[in-house]
Amino acid sequence: MKKIVERHPLAIRWMHWINFPVLFVMIWSGLLIYWANDIYKIHLGSKTLFSFFPAAFYKALNIPYRLAEGMAFHFVFMWIFFLNGLFYVLYTVFSGEWRYLFPDRRSFREAWGVVLHDLHIRKTAPPFVKYNGAQKIVYTAIIVMGLGSVLTGLAIYKPVQFGWLTRLFGGYGNSRVFHFILTLGYCLFFLLHIFQVIRAGWNNFRGMVAGFEVVDTNGFSAKFADGGNAEDAKESNAHEATGENAKSADGMNTKDANNALI
């Protein structure tokens, strides 16, 4: 028997999907700005391992000679990025959603379990409510990173007005380095996030658009009726679900994930 379980509140879905293109514009326009003084490299001793970024990369993305345009986009969209982030934090705090999102003492051990399970080392995933330990840590970290981007951004944008902030990050040059590294962090997060969304499948993806997930209540009640066999019940339930959607699942999920990438 299928059952609808509400998952993401409307406000969170709106803010999630507003943030996605806005962050994209921020990274793209940031790249237009960075190109004008692209000095960051990874060194090993005296050897340069990687230079941010190779000429071919710039050329492929049509980055060169667009500093003015980059600054204009960056300094207009930053307001949306900042306000959307602020509303998100306020919403999670006042709605109580933060309780699902904020990691606690157990989250770190749980996250390790999740990693082992994802790597197929551990057979079962640790039980959780709404977000697992790894998700809690990552979704909280990304908010802290957002705050970091806003503060380091302000330290670069207004180094005289907010001179104390610039000093806090170790000066103008260092603020830029932190701002850049945080951006690399978003790109990494994005790749991981997309990968996990594809892996988690349609039901999960629909949760972020339509707000609900579908659970099988047979498995659900069995899990609670017989605590000892909970894991078994869950597993058999998972097999059932896979069997049911086996034909469409793979094709569908990849397609939807592609939509998410666009």
């Binding site: 000095i39 500093l67 204009a72 005289v160 103008y172 629909r206 339509a210």
Partner: protein, 299 residues
Amino acid sequence: MNNDEPLQMPPVPGGPTGSAGSQDPPGSSKKKRREVLKSFIRKASGRDEELTVEQQIRRRTILSFAGFFLLGGAAWKAWFLLKDSPRGRGTGDGVQEPLRKGLNAGEDVFKHTLSPDHLARVYPRSSATTHVRYNGNAGLSAAGFDAGDWKLRVTTADNRQLSIGIDELRQLPKTEIVFEFKCIEGWSQVSWWGGVRFSDFIRQYHLEKEAAMAYVGMSTPDKEYYVGIDRASVLHPQTLLCYEMNGQPLPMNHGQPLRLIIPVKYGVKNLKRVGNIYFSNERPPDYWHERGYDYYCGL
């Protein structure tokens, strides 16, 4: 699809329901109609408990994704409207109009936070670089320029022209600053400058009335390079008309004999080889603004 029960349509106003309940008070049929409409919307959007779970799932999914793609499409369209919107009416502005409005709104926010108390951080002279970077030479062409002939021309409010030689400026109280010069490209450098504080210059030449105007405009003698700066920034205590760099007279590529050093702005506003100064309540033309950069450029 085939196990879907047909949607209940709301009754036509004035139809059989309306005539049957003719004894009812006038408000109630309206109320009833609203109820029916509400239940129709509930059912159509899959929010009715009477629907099967399958129906609820299907209807909510379809509706949400329709909205999702509609909004996504609208955002996609809006992006291209913004990207391809005209750049500057008349004035030759290098950036899209809506973005310019956004930048100007940002200026309004930050202009009000500018206070003479917010000083650029200063450094000891020993931190100053000896290889001062130079970037761009617009307005610095050697043709027809003789530093010996140079005069600073200031247009007053009553349209008189003051003509001031470099030796006169050297007589005025000297101020030095070692600060981190910041280029709009992203690099920065601690450098050491000496000259006349702009506000001292205003006082010495009795230009208070002029300086009460909203903007100051400056240009090179050949008017090839020009900047406009808001009043508060140009009167900031660290804004200098400089004739020295690293304790020596300015070299040619740094605008000999006089340049502007304004630590609360990006390098683009630090005009080299100042030839003309004037005051205005309108924004004076600005070289890089015309090429799409923020007018304010305040740090």
